[in-house]
Amino acid sequence: MIVNAVLVIEGVAIILLAILVVGLLRSNADVLRALHELGATEPGGTGSGRRHQHAAPEREGSAPDVAGSTLTGSAVHVGVTGAQHPTLLAFLSTGCSACVGLWDGLKTGVGRIGSDDTRIVVVTKGPEAESDSKLRELAPDGVSLVQSTEAWFDYEVPVSPYFVLVDGPSGSVLGEGSAGSWGQVSSLMTQALADAGTVKRDRLDNGEFRADAELRRAGILPGDPSLYQEERPE
């Protein structure tokens, strides 16, 4: 009788432990999935998530043009990919406190961003999501402004303010990120351009690393013993 009771208790305990283990495994899987979506790198892994600072995103295809409306209600289309110049898309909002200085800066001049011919286009969400009167107060003269909620989705804008620098001829995103001042934007984009240039310099047009090509021309191929020479004995 006592033996039977012990067996029953043991069985219940085993079942409870099994449920606990399954629960822990599921919880662990959820945490890993969330980390992956945030772009965190697993120990020993390569990290394939989307980065939010400096580097160009792994977006399919070329950057889309921006279509929406102006403050006066006109339909407007801004060419981004295929243009002869880089375009800096400044995703700003009337409601974000971090954007105030950036709106002011647009009125006084933001200086050089990226290259001299970079075109700055301010993109706010559509009229349904912005204060029309506030936007009229903040919007600078002489700078293109497009109201387009669609563009915020197209460029997967995570926060405001947010900036995306697009190379016109190729349509590739050179850099993107959030910044609280035009000085920071300039720094962010300069770094992104430098990073892009470094990558370009290290690889040839066919994608081969320049160092590999030079070694191949010298007759040194992968596996060549000269690459693995042991140190000379002293």
């Binding site: 043009d65 006066t72 006109s74 339909a75 407007v76 801004v78 295929g82 003269d141």
Partner: protein
């Protein structure tokens, strides 16, 4: 891009805008009438430009194109000036430096008046380089092929 019964397939990389211009004669009357103006350019269209592209043509390079569609009052649609029916297609031979609203060295323009869907329009096209008209004109016709005008 669509507004005021005008639909334009803007080519990738081009700028475009459809805005309304108040009729100068009706501004002083109680019922002000406005007419749409369409601007399409292969370059960044500057804010504050004129209806026929002043302020924009000055910054065009030799590769650039500007297409302007300017609507007149509906009552004009039956007049002799707008007798041509349908959205025109342009030819390189139509362009000349003297067809510009204000001549700019190297550039050339062409102007067409027509009616479509009971509405009266002027199509005005500027080429960044007259010397390149044979290369640039097919691009204009490609854009015009993607233009539709509804009766409203």
């Amino acid at each position: 891009m669509r507004s005021a019964g005008i639909d334009v397939a803007v080519p990738q990389g081009w700028d475009g805008e459809i805005y309304r211009r108040e009729d100068e004669l009706s501004v002083q009357s109680a019922g002000a009438v406005s007419h749409p103006v369409v601007h399409l350019g292969t370059f960044p269209l500057p804010p504050g430009r004129g209806d026929f592209g002043s302020g924009a043509v000055e910054i065009m390079s030799s590769d650039d194109l500007l297409v302007v569609l300017f609507e007149y009052g509906r009552e004009s649609a039956g007049s002799a000036l707008f007798a041509r029916k349908g959205i025109p297609r342009v030819a390189a031979s139509d362009f000349g430096p003297n067809n510009m609203q204000r001549p700019i060295a190297g550039q050339s323009g062409a102007q067409y008046f027509f009616n479509q869907a009971g509405r009266a329009f002027c199509l005005y096209v500027v080429l960044g380089a007259h010397a390149r008209r044979n290369e640039l004109v097919p691009e204009v016709n490609q854009v015009l092929a993607g233009l539709t005008i509804d009766p409203q």
